[in-house]
Each structure stands twice: as structure tokens, then as C-alpha cells.
């Protein structure tokens, strides 16, 4: 019995670390005004918990205990080092004098700290790469090695990126705050972009092992959930819905041999119904806000696909309609391309091809492999193999993704049967 107690306290510390370390860190950054100092304090606080909880018992509010212990340890450390550096002594004095607001009495304050952390990590004054690395490190708690592995970047490069980002936060004085109402839409877009980039890196990229990739998508979904919980803006809800609806198809997207399977050919019984259900509920919630943005519209399109028992039985009328709205909200050539594919499904390949040829003539999509593979597919369906071949080859020359490449090569082989009198 006396031996079992310390062990269970240790397990509790581990559990609290997993569930609450990011919240404690977020509050410590606010109280100490420095990322590195806060990380050190977080480490010291958990080390103290391992030592003291088995003896003194677990505090009533472990999170508040960790925050005040971490803060105390940081100030204490500064005092000791102040013998060599007088400015640290002043800083310690100032931090000590400030009301020790650990967030114990105001749960909203703690929630704000996590939002502060997200907005600071995704500040537009940091490079996009640094925003992603810092968010995964500080908000999701991934180690530098894990992030480096997931992005196929050498760990020292990634560590350097994080060090530089923290230095910029300190030296340019990027504030630890949630943006003002006026700046919020632009800054929220930035945060959503970071989350979606992380998701897509895990969902669409081909290199790296499947497991780490899945971790990235899972991390992005957790971030999305956290954001919706803290700041339920329609587009944050829309993005979470979009990620869940895409994620629901993960098992059906690749064949057992690792080949890419297009939406039309996927085994829909493999789709994750729970994720679809949650995604659909969120889409409805976002749509009911009447402030509809691009993420919500893309999620709505994904939801229409999710409802269809087969590609042929898809409500293409509704999908084209949603693309029409999306093209007005987010008028980009890629949206126009996707709309053209939907038009081809509704009105036949010739109608889609007319739009794609006009888009390609404009030049914007000339280097985009999916534009050429979409054109190739429509030509193939129209019985124009020579045109299809040219476009597949163009797409093949542009893609950098291995499964994509194999998929395109397979399609090209199907166009060029070995035997001239090949049977169907």
C-alpha cells in the first residue's frame, strides 16, 4: 500500500502533464513574459510535482498549483542569478510584485491564455514556416524531433527556426494577446491557414511514414477543436468540419497496396460515419451564422459528397451551386477548376472541358498538375485518347507526389494498351 501510493501519484502527474501542460505553459508565458523562461518554469513545476505530490498529497487544483509553483521557481531562479546580473533582480522584483494571478479564480483568464498563445505563435510577423513550427511545439506540445520528422526537415534546422521565432517575439515585442476586434478577422484567417496547412501536410503529402502523417492531421483537428471551443467563429467551425469530413475518407483514399483512390472510386463503406456526422452538424452550425466563408463552403461541399451513396448518385446540382457561391467569396483559379469538374459531372465532360480549356488559356493554372490531369480525364471520357495522353504527360511532369505519379502512369498505360486489338 505504502509503495502503491507514490506510483499512482506519479501516474497522476503524467496524466496532468498530458492534459494540462499546454494550459499551464500558456499562463506561465503571460505571467513571466518570456517563452524560454516559461518552458523552464513548466519543467521545474512538474519536477516539483513528482517530488511533492506523493508526500503532501495531490493539490485540490493541480493546474493552479503548477502555475504558482512554476512562477515561484522562475522568480527564485532569477533572484539567485541576480548576483551576477543586476537587471534580473529588478525583473524578479517586478514579477513578484505583480498580482499573482494564476487563473485560479477566473477560469476565463486561463482560456484566454491559450488563445493568446495561439495568436502569438501564428503572428503574421513570423515566417509561415516558423508559425507552423512554433504552433506545433508550443500549442500542441510536439517535440522538435517529432515536428522535424513530420516535415522531413533536419532537427537542427527546425530547432533553429523555433529559436529565431522566439527571438523575434522578444526583440520586436510581439504582444501576448488576442487581437482587437478590428484586427481579428485577418488574424483569425492566419491561424486557420496554419491549422489547415498542418492538416494538409498530414493528409495530402505523400512522403514520410503514414503514421507520422496521420499524427499531423490528428494534431490539426485537435487544434481546430480547441479553437472552436475558445473562439466559436463561423469559419473556425467551418474549418473543423472540413477537416473532419476529409479525414473521414482516409481509410478509403488509398488501396491496400498504397495506391491513390479517387473519390468516385472509393469504397464508401470505409468512410468514418462518426466523423461525417460530426462534420455535418458543424457545417449546419457554421451555415446558420449567415456569415459564410470559404472553409464553411468547402465543408458544405464535402458534406454533400459524404451524403451520397455513390459518385453517380451525388447531388451535383447542389455541389455546382455551392461552388458558384465559393467562386464569389474566394475567386481563385483553383476554385474555378473544381467548379468545372463538378459541372462536368452535372452536364457531361464536354461542358467541363470548355471551362478548363478557358482557364488554361488564361495561363494561371498552367503549372498546376491537377488542372492537366482533370483535363486529361475529361478528354479520356470524351473518347479523345491523344489529347488525354498529352495532358496526362503534362501533369506527370509537374507532380511531385509519388502516389500521384503512380496514378497518372497507370492512367497513361490504360490509354496505351500493349495490344492494338486489345479486348475491353
Amino acid at each position: 500500500m505504502s509503495e502503491a501510493v507514490p506510483e499512482s501519484a506519479r501516474e497522476l502527474v503524467d496524466r496532468v502533464y498530458r492534459s494540462d501542460s499546454r494550459r499551464v505553459l500558456a499562463t506561465l508565458i503571460r505571467l513571466l513574459g518570456d517563452f524560454d523562461l516559461a518552458e523552464e518554469a513548466l519543467h521545474d513545476a512538474f519536477a516539483a510535482a513528482v517530488e511533492r505530490w506523493p508526500q503532501d498529497g495531490v493539490p485540490a487544483n493541480p493546474r493552479a498549483w503548477l502555475v504558482s509553483t512554476g512562477r515561484f521557481k522562475a522568480i527564485d531562479g532569477m533572484r539567485r542569478r541576480a548576483r551576477f546580473d543586476a537587471s534580473l533582480g529588478e525583473l524578479a522584483q517586478r514579477l513578484d510584485a505583480e498580482r499573482s494571478d494564476t487563473g485560479e479564480s477566473e477560469p476565463d483568464g486561463v482560456a484566454d491564455d491559450r488563445l493568446r498563445l495561439i495568436f502569438t505563435c501564428c503572428h503574421p510577423a513570423l515566417s509561415p514556416d516558423a508559425q507552423i513550427a512554433l504552433t506545433l511545439r508550443e500549442v500542441c506540445g510536439l517535440t522538435t524531433e517529432e515536428i522535424a520528422h513530420a516535415f522531413l526537415t533536419p532537427a537542427p534546422t527546425l530547432a533553429q527556426r523555433i529559436v529565431r521565432a522566439k527571438a523575434k517575439i522578444r526583440d520586436a515585442r510581439i504582444p501576448y494577446q488576442v487581437p482587437t476586434q478590428a484586427a481579428l478577422p485577418e488574424r483569425l484567417d492566419q491561424v486557420l491557414r496554419v491549422i489547415y496547412l498542418v492538416f494538409n501536410e498530414g493528409y495530402a503529402a505523400s512522403s514520410g511514414t503514414a503514421v507520422t502523417r496521420h499524427d499531423l492531421s490528428g494534431g490539426a483537428i485537435r487544434l481546430g477543436r480547441l479553437l472552436v471551443e475558445l473562439l466559436p467563429e463561423p469559419e473556425a467551425i467551418g474549418l473543423l468540419a472540413l477537416m473532419l469530413l476529409h479525414e473521414s475518407r482516409r481509410a478509403a483514399r488509398t488501396s491496400p497496396a498504397g495506391e491513390l483512390v479517387l473519390l468516385a472510386d472509393q469504397d464508401r463503406s470505409l468512410w468514418d460515419r462518426a466523423q461525417i456526422e460530426e462534420g455535418r452538424t458543424l457545417v449546419e452550425r457554421a451555415l446558420s451564422s449567415r456569415r459564410v466563408g470559404p472553409y464553411t463552403l468547402q465543408a458544405a461541399i464535402a458534406a454533400v459528397h459524404a451524403e451520397a451513396p455513390s459518385a453517380g448518385a451525388t447531388d451535383w446540382e447542389q455541389i455546382v451551386g455551392l461552388y458558384d457561391v465559393l467562386a464569389r467569396v474566394d475567386p481563385t483559379p483553383v476554385v474555378e477548376l473544381n467548379r468545372a469538374v463538378a459541372v462536368a459531372m452535372r452536364d457531361g465532360p464536354a461542358a467541363g472541358l470548355t471551362i478548363i480549356d478557358a482557364l488554361l488559356a488564361h495561363g494561371d493554372l498552367d503549372d498546376y498538375h491537377l488542372a492537366h490531369s482533370a483535363r486529361a480525364d475529361l478528354c479520356r471520357r470524351l473518347g479523345r485518347p491523344a489529347d488525354a495522353r498529352v495532358s496526362y504527360q503534362r501533369a506527370l511532369g509537374l507532380t511531385r507526389q509519388e502516389p500521384e505519379r503512380r496514378f497518372l502512369e497507370r492512367r497513361l498505360r490504360e490509354l496505351t494498351p500493349d495490344l492494338p486489338s486489345g479486348v475491353m
Binding site: 503572428h123 515585442r173 504582444p175
Partner: protein, 118 residues
């Protein structure tokens, strides 16, 4: 904290601008400067003469070398600056976004390095 807001724009634009329009922009600068004086952000600021008046000075191996013009040919040139006092980077970005030149060219916002006084 002090930030230097460097105003970069294509100086040729000023030459080709009709007189009335240039005067309108000057007026906007006057209003902006007045505004940041009242809000307490303003420390200093000046427009610069065009780059053809610039001289670049270097000392190499103890020898002074003087050359004509700016150091590098760029599409946008440094045309002026404001030195402002701001609470943090977000505050400085708010000020920089109101500089009339931000709509024509771009503003580089740089924190001033504080040298500790002994």
C-alpha cells in the same frame, strides 16, 4: 519601445503624379503626422530627397571610397521615415498601416535596439 517605420515606394511615381494628386498625398501625410503627434506615438520623421541625391561611403583597408547613388538598385526606394514610440509590435503595425505611403508602397517596421546606459 521605439520602432522605425521606413517608407519604401517607387520614387518615379512622384515624378509622374499630377500636381493636384501629389498635393492631396502631402495633405494626407500632414494629417497623419498631426494624428500620431496627438496620440503620443510621434518621436520624429522626415521625407528624404530622391535617391539621385544619395552618396554611398565605404571604408576599406583604411581608405575612404565614395560612390554615387544608393547601394543597390531596387524597385522601391527608401523615401522617408517615422520614428515612433509604440506599446508593442501590434501597436506599431497599427501606426504603420495609417502612413499614406503604405497604400502606394510598403512600410518596413523595425524595432530600435536599446543600448543599455551605463
Amino acid at each position: 519601445m521605439k520602432y522605425l517605420c521606413l517608407i519604401y515606394e517607387d520614387e518615379k511615381l512622384w515624378h509622374s503624379m499630377p500636381k493636384g494628386e501629389a498635393e492631396k498625398v502631402y495633405g494626407e501625410y500632414f494629417t497623419f503626422t498631426d494624428g500620431i503627434r496627438k496620440s503620443g506615438h510621434y518621436i520624429g520623421g522626415n521625407p528624404l530627397q530622391p535617391t539621385n541625391t544619395a552618396t554611398t561611403v565605404r571604408v576599406r583597408n583604411g581608405k575612404v571610397s565614395t560612390t554615387d547613388g544608393p547601394f543597390a538598385e531596387t524597385k522601391e526606394q527608401l523615401g522617408g521615415y517615422y520614428l515612433v514610440e509604440a506599446k508593442d509590435l501590434n501597436d506599431a503595425i497599427n501606426v504603420a498601416a495609417r502612413i499614406p505611403g503604405a497604400r502606394i508602397g510598403s512600410i518596413e517596421v523595425r524595432p530600435i535596439m536599446e543600448i543599455p546606459q551605463q
